[in-house]
Amino acid sequence: MDPQNTQVLLIEDNPGDADLVRLRLIEAKNTSEVNCVSRLSDGLASLANSQPSVVLLDLNLPDCHGAETFRKVLDKAPNTPIVILSGQDDEALATKALHQGVQDYLVKGDFTSKHLERAMRYAVERQALVRSLEISRKQQLEFKNRFLSHVSHELRTPLTCIHQYVTILLDGIAGPVAPEQNDHLKTVLKSVNQLHAMIRDLLEATRAESGKMRVEPRCIAVDGLIHQAVAMMRPTAQEKNVALEMGLDQRIPLVHADPDRVLEILINLMDNALKFTPPEGSVVVKASMVETDPGMIYVSVSDTGRGINTEAKALIFERLFQDPDTIDSNRTGLGLGLYISKELVNLQGGKIWVSSEPGQGSTFTFTLPLYSLASLLMPVVTYQGQMRPSFVLARVDLIPLRNPPRGNWKETWQECLEVVRRCVYLDKDLVLPPMAAQGPGEAFYIVASTDLQQAGIMTTRIREQLERVEDLSSKATVAISLVPVEFEPGKADISLEAKVQVLASRISEMIVDDMQVRPVREPARK
């Protein structure tokens, strides 16, 4: 600290105490410039304008008392050193403040000029040290993440080569392979696939740690994803002689989640369950609603494996955790799968947990938020406290001319969605958020508070506007269909909210039914 250029912000409402601080500084021949304010609000305003070298802070001010005082200053200027001027009776509080980022404290009336100067000097030095530690910690984290992402990229190149040549041999492209050689090659391929999964997990965990993991929630039918995941894991289950079953509620409402990520979580949980279930055992995937938690869908994966003990349960979602009781041959990953799943579930607004008793199998459950159609519909299907008289559900399909689509398909369909949104009446029509792609194309649903004839006019308008989208005709065809929404609003005395809920349920049913008859999407990329 250069004593000549020190600027002190003194936040002290007692003029006597303020004068005493000035006096002590003069005694120490300290030429610091002291800016004294008597209210916290003035102090915070001063901190917003310029950063002093050090803040001397009284804890009992006219506009703020106690711990709140230093918390507000720390919030405003986290990098400015603070020395508290405490009374005899709030020394305990001052000690507490040290744990929260305040650098030092002096008891009023009990410090000399030397004490004051030393406290200020050390506060400045320590704060600088803390800051440089913080910066270096961030740099190290950044370096580690860059390093991991670089390594996983570099590992992919030789791995690709091994993968290619092994599959060339296995597929007989380089000539016939004897049955025993074939077996050996399959073992190599299995290890290559494991290595590949580890590299992927490593990168994903790095992303999760640095907050760069991305999810793109949509309105999706989770049972379709469970069917897909079960189909993907079926061969593994058969190989292990483990039964793979589904238990899905009759009507599962739509959820607001990222379909690729939900599939990833399902595959991960099922893969673990199959890994730890002995032959003749079973793995069951369920999706259901729970009365006590109406805003969520519960998805669970249960196995008849050997269960997880209490200590392991507490740590199982931590990074790099591996159950020490696991037989080595079952350890085929880095211990990142559940950590990644937890991060993905949290990012989508859900929770994940495990219930298990040793010897009794385990159940991993995660929740996903329901897609609340009723709250989206409320403003458009009602008018002056009444339900509007009639509703139509329209579907606009964009079917790409090629599968997979050429060019930037995502940009194309998003532009079309914007066009569709501009073609409806905002006060009485609703373009629903995009649904999970079921086929190669995209489908947008519109709820229109109108009759079929008026809805026909709306769809003509949509078609005309979509025809003006540049190059759309060379990329996709457009199909539009309309269905009137027939629903029984129930007794006249039920509330408007309840009526909208009935309508929303009816529309959800129609969409779920509609999506089920459409072609199922191809399996996601491995």
Binding site: R156, L159, T160, C161, Q164, T167, I173, R406, K410, R525
Partner: protein, 133 residues
């Protein structure tokens, strides 16, 4: 029917050889290039029906190649499948915006790659079946 011609661009000679073997087994004619400059030169000379392109290349990386192909009239219609070790999170959108037909991260599932090659290759107009609705 005439065989489809595919240009494979990658700077790893071992992988290039593997992809050549793999694609030849599917009855495609293969030519190869191992840097950005010769990729464009070969594309101009041989007019392939499809290009498989790595991103990390010497003498003009994959993005440069994509851009040159897109701005060159007879070449811009050739479908390009990008096959790279790079992270899709930072590259896929960029590659698709630059006009690629598909993006795959290495190592790729062979069936998926072959499937995308099959559907991306030009077909006679009459053979283009509409997608079932």
């Amino acid at each position: 029917m005439q065989r489809h011609k595919i240009l494979v661009v990658d700077d790893d000679p071992d992988l290039l050889r593997a992809l050549r073997l793999r694609l030849k087994a599917q009855d495609y004619d293969i030519s190869t290039a191992s840097d950005g400059y010769s990729a464009i030169a070969t594309a101009q000379k041989e007019r392939p029906d499809l290009i498989i392109l790595d991103l990390g290349l010497p003498v003009g990386d994959g993005f440069v190649v994509l851009e040159r192909l897109q701005t060159s009239n007879p070449l811009s219609s050739i479908p390009v499948i990008v096959l790279t070790a790079r992270d899709p999170q930072n590259n896929e959108d960029r590659v698709m915006k630059a006009g690629a037909a598909a993006f795959f991260q290495k190592p790729v599932d062979n069936d998926e790659l072959l499937n995308v090659i099959r559907v991306s290759l030009p077909r006679p107009e009459s053979a283009r079946a509409p997608w079932p609705s």
